[in-house]
Symmetry: D2
Subunit: 311 residues, 4 copies
């Protein structure tokens, strides 16, 4: 799969199904990929935050890329997260995910360490220099604890360092600056501006975003594909209705008792419970040390599915 | 080196000397270790934050442990950081650092992901279950973005999960709670409470801390060894004078222009410049994407050394 | 002016012109109000953050409300901020702004002190009980350092405590939850959901927001009035073009050198410089201890005005 | 009371007793002041955070200063907090607290608004220019959300702007920098470095701090007076034992159920419950919208008192 045109459309961050003993369940992963492809998605993003990338060992990460590329490589682009603390470690991930066939890599700013915009720019330049495939920046302040400024992203795009942005910052004003800036500097050919939001996809597409990377797209790929199409057709009324249905479904991320578990356990646990309830994956387990949902919490996930017409 | 008694004394987090092309400079690393051992330190902590652990690849991390253990193993305890985002990845690091001979491992709470005290506790329990050597908790909110509560640490100590705490939180009130709690639950045999502070070591030891893990100890191990001895002897006047001399020396961490680089580049750059100026290591380079100190900034490091009587 | 129907449309937070010795310049304030009314706005919000409410003494705040209500009271609704740390202090502000004729009050959650959702709810209940006019909640985490959860706001709306929300949180997903929730609980008659954003007004109105409270509306009220009208007419193409022009104009908030001043000095200084350059107010001074813009920075404000066709 | 020498010793931030209907209970306030004076304190700090200053109206604040100065003025120095968002509002507080006889004022950096070190410096310079009495800086990042850098404080001290620092930042390393800097610049005559800590008073005094401003000093003034004396005498063993007894007592601040109330409700509720149980004040009510402690929580406060030998 070459990656010459800007990436557009719905590119879900693919969940990583696990066996009860927390190994990658490749059979379920293939079924999940089939479910997404059948749903009409335009690309796949493996090893993102919704994929529990932070919890997967290097061996497991490689298995994920090999499995997905082996199954659908060439049919649609496969982007792979190369999530780690700093440049040298990220470059190690770039090596094996591209050996395994990833069509593009997605990297955050450095984290854990105290950093600086000059260091973030250098980080992306070195990654691009070391990567045989295009590099997208991943803006996720809730995890990385720094925000990628619009000017920084646009500058690196103009240099040819970045081929796109996946923005999960929740800062729609800043996102718009990147969208407008990319358009203004028409020369940034092939630069993709993607939103990681589940809740304001219609807004992002109305602004001019190229695509969307919604975690909830695992559960309801058809919904996001319809939403994308309505937006592209300029049918904003139907887009809003579809988006609002998906907002209701998204409520599942809060089923987990906040007194008993963190936000990741709740949200990723809900996505996996929903995939399990829908019969897509064999086991809803999340990786250690996340706390599993209770039976009652899983039942509430089922109600969200039913409410959205998915059960 | 068995690790049966509580660890006490000065245990510097060993810097990782690099070659100009950013490979581990094992000859310089051995000279640095000799410099520390000659300085009288009681143990070595490799692969901590001051060791640029966040910037080292797994291969480089392994090289560091093998080099240090190969050189001084058995003479004094070698602790190794197993710094990564979550339990499964940390356990991979546990495996190779203990194969390489580390006497204990030092792990943070999960980071990058949204977590919860129940998940942090489970994380340490699983690490302890999977580690052939004792586990110390590393409290570093500036990197990890969560704080280890005193009760959590003391509970895990009482369970036998944790063999110690390295507290770099800067919260001396919370630190004191752990010191007092460990003493009160006299049953926590072998639990070591270590401060990561460079600036209030005398205070921490006066409270009852077992030891100190100062990054600046790379530059002036003799100073921290003297400081530790004065405190143990109850000579608080000389302790204060020594501590204040070290506080002055610590000013070097701010030589880097904050408009041009992050705090890590400045502080680790200064430590390495000082080691280079003192003739201990061959090259002052820090790992990518950190920004190097300018010639003028290195000159200021030299003035700090001169001011502290070290040049 | 009764305030029975939900407030809709463009309700700018009115800047507070100052004399060179930092007293309220009532003549300029009246000219600014005329400029806004001529621009077609639907209401006025005095004593908000863009009004430098945090910098005005109680005497000055009272002067502002008296001046504005005295000039336009009865023509269009005047909302007044009652910004202070906790309930008893807020209630003092409620007293004098309503004596001076404010049609509604706008209050934040408690700040400075450590708070809790139960205390925030109690705070708004007590304010509503003590206020002769409707109360709107002001969500501004950048100042208040806590976020108003959608469920909290909707619950207080259903109770009849809150008559509206002014959301300056930048969290468009959360904003949408309030919009959808208010609609779903159709019983919340007269509840207004207003966005404080300058940059995604079209998105907010497309979601179903009732109105917009843009600081930049001081500088270009006609622009936001047009934008509002296009959105209400469903002319999303022209809305986007108008919004993008305003996004370009908004760039003025960053003219101030971040090495020399804070964000408030830069943004409020730019708005006032623009109003001065457009001949609306006599003096562009901001309140102490804000840092004034330099001549060069003011010149750049002029370029933003020119670029947007306003000079 | 002139205020010519540097302030030293124990200067508790005086709680503000309230009646059941949340007015200042001046009779209880006088009894509390007598309790503190009898306990041997060296000064009184009214209208600090532990005084619930954020919850008191201007009228109530004035009542507090008048009551305390009227009762003990001339016997020992009375410092008054002038806590508000920015310079003009702080100057209003300066006016009435000094009219009421305060011997010094204590001000934070600007809050609610986005600020900058240059603006913070200008803020303190303007306050000092407008104040007839000395000005102390109050460093409380948990409330103010910015940290006063040691260099800023020392520079303003050298200029004669600041007469002291009350440091409640919890950053003992930074505190030490101020202590050492004030000593090094011997010319800063009359500059007082005070810690707001309850838990590391012995450490702060060992470093060279001039005094201590402990909220818990309301409950046990004798304890802090003894602790201060032991430290001044260099009897560090007894100092540590006394400090550790006070650390145990301090545990009362966490009696409040965190699921039901914020940290301020719990800590200030506990101090007032303790003063009520000890018979010093008539009513333990805290200001609105704080949540009252339950009967069971008050009982636990009693156990802390008993454990420390105070009941």
């Amino acid at each position: 799969m070459t990656f010459t045109a800007p990436l557009t459309g719905v590119v879900p961050p693919v969940c990583t199904p696990l066996t009860p003993d927390r190994e990658v369940d490749t059979a379920s992963l293939i079924r999940l990929v089939d479910h997404l492809v059948r749903g009409g998605v335009d690309g796949l993003f493996v090893l993102g935050s919704s994929s529990e990338v932070a919890y997967l060992t290097d061996r497991q990460r490689r298995t994920v890329v090999e499995t997905v590329v082996g199954h659908v490589g060439g049919q649609l682009p496969v982007l792979a997260g190369v999530i780690d603390m700093t440049t040298p470690r990220v470059l190690d991930h770039v090596r094996y995910v591209t050996e395994a066939g990833a069509d593009a890599v997605v990297a955050t700013a450095p984290f854990y360490t105290r950093t600086h915009p000059a260091e973030i720019a250098r980080h992306f330049r070195l990654i691009a220099a070391g990567s045989p495939v295009p590099v997208l920046a991943y803006d996720l302040p809730v995890s990385v604890h720094s925000k990628l400024a619009a000017e920084l992203v646009l500058g690196l795009a103009a240099e040819g360092v970045l081929a796109g942005l996946k923005d999960s910052s929740g800062d729609e004003g800043g996102f718009r600056q990147v969208v407008m800036g990319a358009r203004a500097r028409g020369g940034i050919s092939g630069f993709s501006v993607l939103t990681g939001s589940e809740l304001v996809v219609d807004s992002a597409l109305a602004m001019g975003a190229d695509g969307v990377v919604p975690g909830l797209g695992n559960v309801d790929p058809e919904g996001y594909v319809r939403l994308y199409r309505y937006c592209r057709e300029g049918d904003w009324e139907r887009a809003r209705a579809e988006q609002e249905r998906l907002c209701g479904l998204f409520g599942m991320v809060a089923v987990g008792d906040a007194g008993r578990m963190g936000g990741s356990s709740s949200a990723l646990g809900a996505f996996k419970a929903a995939l399990h309830l829908r019969g897509v994956i064999d086991c809803p387990a999340t990786a250690e040390p996340q706390v599993p949902l209770s039976a009652g919490e899983v039942e509430r996930v089922g109600k969200f599915l039913a409410g959205a017409g998915l059960l």
